[in-house]
């Protein structure tokens, strides 16, 4: 299988795995490609060539046990997890292929985006403790409008005269685009302000090359316990 064939298989598996899940309230899981995976698509319409697969989910839309179980069923097992010490829900889930029948199946990082006062927080193993509940939590932040604009903004774009608008942008502000071929079966979904996010995480992104682990974020929040986030 060449790289494109592998990428097509991976896209299909991610879509089918994530789309079969629902939120605790029964609504559809709100997920999107983020970080390097988003960058690859936005800059080059590529997928999985230079990065592992990064997926973002809105924290309030995740049934984590379901999510973990679904990925186990699709040949991936959790390698590292950071959990919220308020409720043991994962903030970051690092999955690795486990006897996968697809050669070179990538690792998958799922990031929970936690809403707080006009911004979203996310974390990964930046504290390097390797524990599920580290002694301090370091979150990076991103303005909330980049991921989830207000409903009026979404409605206005969806309602504009172009017939494609309401098909491409869903009610949660997530864009649904084709990859590899127009109107084919392969889909990606990326967050609302993907250009702004590329500027934020990968300055100069269109005119230089980025590699895995090079995302930039100067805005951080550090807490000893996630309980401090609720204050």
């Amino acid at each position: 299988m060449n790289r494109i064939d592998t990428a097509k298989r991976v896209v299909s598996i991610v879509s089918s795995t994530m789309d079969m899940l629902s939120a605790p309230d029964g609504s559809r899981l709100k997920w999107f490609y983020t970080f390097g995976t988003m960058l690859e698509y936005v800059a080059d319409k590529a997928f999985g060539l230079n990065f592992d697969i990064d997926i973002g989910v809105f924290a309030d839309s995740v049934g984590w046990q379901q999510l973990e179980s679904a990925w186990r069923d699709n040949g991936c097992k959790p390698k590292r997890t950071i959990v919220d010490d308020r409720n043991d829900v994962p903030l970051n889930l690092h999955l690795e292929p486990n006897n996968h029948n697809i050669k070179d199946f990538p690792t998958i990082d799922i990031f929970s985006f936690v809403k707080r006062k006009g911004e979203y927080l996310y974390t990964y193993d930046i504290n390097r403790e390797g524990k599920q509940k580290p002694s301090r939590y370091v979150f990076k932040t991103v303005p909330s409008w980049m991921l989830a604009p207000g409903p009026e903004v979404i409605a206005k774009i969806r309602g504009r005269s172009h017939p494609e608008a309401s098909r491409l942008l869903d009610e949660n502000g997530i864009w649904h685009y084709d990859i590899f071929e127009d109107n084919g079966p392969f889909k990606v979904q990326i967050p609302f302000a993907y250009g702004s996010l590329c500027d934020t995480w990968y300055p100069g992104w269109r005119f230089r090359k980025y590699y895995s682990g090079q995302s930039v974020s100067e805005s951080m929040v550090e807490v000893k316990s996630c309980k401090e986030l609720s204050k």
Binding site: W145, L168, F192, G195
Partner: protein
């Protein structure tokens, strides 16, 4: 007329000339590509096929009236002529506006294209450009120049009065009385276009906003998928009853 191969070659040549003119009067670092061509450069590294003009922006607050006039003279000396222009009294200055009007009129007369200006020459004496459109006689490309004016946290651009009619705006965004002729400005957050970077576009050095992704999200939401037609989003608007009295300017931010 869309960008076919010949038109692209001409446009690249014209872009190089425009940037050279800006260079010669010391404003190169304040002239940048915006709107549709920015979209083409970032998305396709090319002109947009169905586009019919090129949008250049000038950081109006960072150049002097004298530089503005010299810029025009340089453009004229390269065979560029003004297809259309608009002035505002917003930035009343040092009298160069009158000279520009006289110069444009003389130039157009020489080309047999004399026609009346929107404002009388006396009134125009205090005025500076808000917008003009350039063409070169040797080809058919149109180059809009938007003089971006910073105010109240945004950079604004406009063609002054009669740029747009009330029909083009969502009435919930901005109240527009069809009997009024107030100018409408479109705004972009100042931090999106404050800082510029130089890039190489098919062998021509051009400036673009450093935050080009922000600009495209703001001007063309969902810009990755080509959609024919439509101007930049009318997300932030300002109604200007009189240029002289900023207290009467009304901003609507639809974000």
């Amino acid at each position: 007329m869309s960008f076919d191969r010949q038109k692209k070659q001409d446009a690249l040549q014209d872009l190089a000339i425009i940037m050279d003119c800006a260079d010669r009067v010391g404003i190169r670092k304040h002239v940048y590509v915006g709107f549709g061509l920015l979209l083409g450069i970032v998305r396709d590294r090319d002109f947009i096929g169905h586009d019919d003009d090129v949008d250049m922006c000038v950081q109006a607050d960072k150049i002097t009236a004298a530089q503005e006039l010299r810029y025009f003279k340089e453009l004229a000396s390269e065979g560029m002529f003004f297809a259309r222009r608009k002035f505002s009294t917003r930035r009343s200055g040092d009298g160069w506006g009158g000279d520009i009007v006289s110069l444009v009129r003389a130039y157009n007369r020489a080309k047999g294209q004399d026609h009346e200006f929107d404002e009388g020459e006396e009134g125009a004496a205090k005025k500076r450009f808000t917008w003009f459109s350039l063409r070169r006689r040797s080809d058919h490309n149109k180059f809009c120049h938007w003089f971006m004016i910073p105010w109240n946290g945004y950079y604004w651009h406009t063609k002054s009065g009669k740029w747009v009619t009330h029909r083009k705006f969502d009435p919930s965004m901005i109240a527009y009385d069809q009997y009024h002729d107030d100018a409408i400005m479109k705004g972009v957050p100042q931090e999106y276009v404050e800082e510029l970077i130089e890039i190489d576009f098919r062998g021509v050095k051009l400036n673009i906003p450093k935050n080009y992704g922000h600009c495209l999200d703001f001007w063309y939401p969902g810009w990755l998928i080509p959609m024919k037609g439509g101007s930049s989003a009318k997300t932030v608007l300002c109604r200007v009853p009189t240029w002289e009295d900023e207290t009467k300017w009304k901003v609507r931010d639809g974000r």
